[in-house]
């Protein structure tokens, strides 16, 4: 049985944040609220990372996801006037989507939960020393002898391409005549 301690309580609260925020994103009418729900959910995920002893990823989650991506989305909402055109939130096939998603969830729940049932029970998981899982280890993993140098380089090319592309697409009309 799961014992009631600080960790489990934190997990319960964070789960409410993650899932509640997620539901808020997909159901809310006002997209500015949607973006705020998204921030809430992302914050919950950052909390998970702390519980899972990945403090660096938690910091990145807050800085990159909440600090950059969520703000970008708020910009998208404002610049496309999405919060004023409230209209109908869902398309006509939303109920079909809901059924599909519920079926998929049942499949995933069976396929994911059963194989790991009982794994990671208290005491079974090796406890980490304070240093493992931090920025130094992650940085080393990215460039070390058996590390992720290639995807790291590919990601840098990808970011260049994405940046150039975003500029090309978002060019202004006046720019054309120049």
């Amino acid at each position: 049985m799961i014992e009631l301690n600080a960790q489990t309580i934190a997990f319960a609260i964070l789960s409410v944040l993650v899932l509640g925020g997620g539901l808020g994103v997909v159901t809310t009418r006002n997209l500015v609220h949607g973006a705020l729900w998204l921030v809430l959910s992302l914050l919950g995920v950052a909390g998970y990372f702390v519980l899972l002893s990945a403090p660096f990823l938690a910091a990145v989650q807050v800085l990159v996801y909440i600090g950059a991506i969520a703000i970008l989305i708020v910009f998208a909402v404002m610049l496309t006037r999405s919060m004023t055109s409230l209209g109908e939130v869902r398309n006509r096939q939303w109920w079909l989507s809901a059924i599909t998603v519920i079926l998929l969830f049942l499949l995933l729940a069976v396929g994911i939960i059963l194989p790991v049932w009982g794994r990671g029970a208290p005491g079974e998981v090796t406890s980490l020393s304070a240093t493992v899982g931090g920025a130094v280890e992650l940085g080393e993993a990215l460039v070390a002898g058996d590390g992720f140098v290639l995807p790291f380089e590919v990601a840098s090319i990808l970011l260049t391409a994405a940046m150039i592309g975003a500029i090309v697409v978002a060019r202004d009309e006046e720019d054309e005549g120049a």
Binding site: G111, E140, G145, D146, F148, V154, A161, A162, G165, R171
Partner: protein, 501 residues
């Protein structure tokens, strides 16, 4: 302390076709700044030169089997063959683009750099030996394509095409990466050879594959299924293909598919061939892949009949062709047929590449500057106004149908052969039947060009470069049709043994 690797540890020697392309694309962005706005063709020449260099480097790498970047990057004939397809696709697409961009007023140097970036993504998909690399290259392949699809400015259809492609592509990537995460959870590693070992060990011990692994594989299949546009993950294809600028559609219809199938083959055939539920004969994913193949063949070919626009028609036709390649994948799921089926799929992709790009080249030759004029009715009378172009188009249509003496025939022949030998006779019969159905709409275009009376519009875009592309693809479709060994010999060295890291 960790050893920070030096350059020599990376073993870059055989990675230069890809690394050089990425580097070239980045330098091209810089060079483009110094090229005046009215002479952007020069950027295109530079891009072509970069592709050519990469192509030659890749030829040198052909028989090599090696790994680089600490086993994350494989160099083998499989990837070298895919590189040939990817580089040729990019080369022809750029030939098609130069005048097209000029006359539709979207001549911008970034276009060519983005084509090179996405080509590097396609090539990396073939080289990837790790799920993380597959994922990152999948995005390198996709993100520039989202932008290229929205490149026509200001055009509602093109912008919508880009948006749909982006939304669907991001959705598909999320599926892929969720599946990859589950595979990581099931095997404790993201490296494909390591996954192969873990699964093979479990299989040898007689255990059924982990449910987690099966679900992960299924989600990966869904994600890549979107990318290669197989039923039921195809719905975005016609709209995106129709709205995107035609040279981009041409690239997409080959490049994105080749990249997706490269990853499917790498993951399913190279890394997970022994994923079986007890029956030793076939992999657990074989039945699902067969069903997808069957549905794709039927839907793609039947719906194509109703199309009135050549880009939409070619979109459904490309769905149908993805179905034939899925047939090869299904055959590869049968124990002992992995290699033969992979070779058949490679030959098929090469033949499809030349033929499909050729068909798009002709479509571009008759399209107008504002993007209109891709109705099938445009082909009426083409046999009289441009007999040579119409004749070549007719040949492409025959090759897409799979008539003998064309490259398309060789590809289909090999795929049907391996499908029958692997015991999937009903699927092979379905393949033959749907080929017959496809003859209806392919030959419909030939009938329009030669037999229907009408005033053919003078082909607006039949300029030198486009004609060059038409002749190049014609040669690529005709010669292997007559001398099949031109294609099949290249694949003889392909093996599906995972290259250890």
């Amino acid at each position: 302390m960790t050893d920070i690797p030096v350059l020599a540890d990376l073993n870059l020697a055989w990675t230069w076709p890809v690394v050089g392309l990425g580097l070239g694309a980045t330098l091209l962005l810089v060079a483009d700044l110094f090229i005046p706005r009215d002479r952007k063709q020069q950027t295109a020449w530079l891009a072509l030169a970069i592709l050519l260099v990469s192509f030659l480097l890749n030829l040198a790498a052909f028989p090599v089997v090696d790994s680089a970047f600490f086993g994350m990057f494989v160099v083998d004939p499989f990837s070298a063959f895919l590189n040939l397809i990817a580089l040729t696709t990019a080369f022809i697409s750029i030939l098609l683009s130069v005048d097209y961009l000029q006359r539709s007023g979207m001549q911008r140097g970034e276009f060519y750099a983005l084509i090179l970036f996405t080509t590097a993504g396609v090539m990396l998909m073939g080289h990837a030996n790790d799920l993380v690399v597959v994922f990152v290259s999948l995005e390198l392949l996709s993100i520039p394509l989202y932008i290229l699809a929205a490149f026509r400015y200001p055009d509602v259809k093109s912008s919508e095409s880009g948006m749909k492609y982006l939304v669907l592509g991001a959705f598909a990537s999320a599926f892929f990466v969720f599946g990859a995460a589950l595979i990581y959870g099931a095997t404790g590693s993201t490296s494909l050879p390591h996954i192969f070992e873990v699964v093979a060990r479990g299989f040898a011990a007689g255990g059924a594959p982990e449910l987690l692994l099966l679900v992960g594989t299924g989600l990966v299949l869904v994600g890549l299924g979107f990318k290669v546009a197989v039923v039921p993950f195809h719905m975005w294809t016609p709209d995106v293909y129709e709205g995107a600028p035609t040279p981009v559609t041409a690239f997409m219809s080959v490049g994105a598919k080749v990249g997706g199938f490269a990853a499917l083959l790498r993951i399913l055939v190279f890394a997970l061939p022994v994923l079986s539920t007890g029956a030793v004969e076939a992999s657990a994913w074989q039945q699902v892949v067969s069903l997808i193949a069957a549905a794709t063949l039927i839907l793609g070919n039947v719906v194509a009949i109703a199309q009135q626009n050549v880009k939409r028609l070619l979109a459904y036709s490309s769905i149908a062709h993805a179905g034939y390649i899925m047939m090869a994948l299904a055959a590869a799921g049968h124990a002992g047929f992995g290699e033969q089926a992979t070779r058949a799929a490679l030959v098929y992709m090469l033949a499809y590449m030349f033929t499909n790009l050729g068909a798009f080249a002709v479509a571009i030759a008759i399209e107008k500057g504002d993007g209109s004029g891709s109705d099938l009715e445009q082909f009426v009378g083409l046999g009289r106004s441009r007999p040579l172009l119409a004749g070549i188009m007719a040949f492409f249509m025959l090759s897409l149908t799979g008539i003998p003496l064309t490259a398309g025939f060789i590809g289909k022949w090999l795929i049907f052969q391996v499908t029958i030998e692997a015991g999937l006779v009903p699927l092979a019969i379905l393949g033959v039947l749907t080929s017959v159905v496809s003859a209806y709409y392919y030959i419909g275009i030939i009938v329009r060009m030669f037999l229907r009376e009408g005033e053919g519009d003078p082909a607006a875009g039949g300029t030198g470069l486009v004609n060059g592309a038409v002749y190049l693809t014609f040669a690529g479709t005709l010669l292997p049709g007559i001398f099949p060994y031109l294609m099949t010999d290249l694949t003889r060295v392909v093996s599906t043994t995972p290259v250890g890291g």
